[in-house]
Symmetry: C2
Subunit: 147 residues, 2 copies
């Protein structure tokens, strides 16, 4: 049989689980549920939203476990925590390509963009100051130009 079948989401999760196990993280029912929800999420859910979604898969998941699992996953580089002003922290998987945001100040629209040049400059600046970037956040608040 051919072995070129495309990797399914289930495969991805299984690979992720193995990698975590490798690092000494036990794969529990609750963690599987949370991982599945994170892998499915196209948005940036907060802890509470993750609880709701994970509960649909495994009703025994508690909010404490969501938080504890997110901490573990963050420490293992699987998810990234996004802290915005005032609102609860949001989370996203780190497998999506990195991008920054332009926020349209008039409409509230959010546009994603990515610039390797900027990424490179950031790294240079940090290096000059003796730092190594873990992650960053760049938000451009802008207005549509009149034509």
């Amino acid at each position: 049989m051919g072995n070129k079948a495309p990797m399914t989401k289930a495969d991805k999760i299984a690979i992720l689980e193995d990698a975590l196990r490798e690092r000494g993280v036990r794969i529990t029912r609750q963690r599987q549920a949370i991982l599945t929800v994170l892998a499915d999420a196209a948005d940036h859910p907060d802890a509470n939203e993750l609880l709701v979604r994970a509960s649909a898969i495994d009703p025994t998941v508690s909010l404490s476990t969501v938080y504890r699992t997110l901490t573990v996953l963050e420490e293992n580089g699987v998810v990234q925590r996004l802290s915005f002003d005032g609102v609860p922290a949001k989370f996203e998987t780190t497998d999506a390509p990195h991008h920054d945001h332009i926020i349209d100040v008039d409409t509230g629209d959010v546009i994603e963009f990515r610039s390797d040049k900027i990424e490179k400059l950031q790294a240079e600046i940090a290096a000059e100051l003796g730092y190594e970037i873990i992650h960053h956040r760049l938000d451009l608040y802008a207005r549509r130009k009149a034509r």
Copy 2:
């Protein structure tokens, strides 16, 4: 007599107070103390630190008032609130020239930097997408490099 005497910090604060009064903000003893502390601060104090410093000027200042005053000052464009990951919000006056921040993920320290190259790149990217930048926010979460 000459009228070219340089503006002292006291002058600056007086001007600020007048501007605020103009906008219907009452200048109380507590607000004066907090304004003075903010004008003096070369770093990025959080609410608690501001309380400590302002108390040295006016011992009647309370933490509630620090928070309330910061909100008022933010609404009136005098200070900017910096909400970083995990740590309490930090504040800085808006009269300083624009700069971005590096946040030390281990200590919570905040370092300012400024790069015209990055500013220019941002403008270019926004322009390409048909936008004009109003303001932006760039936070680099970084870790001190081992030497």
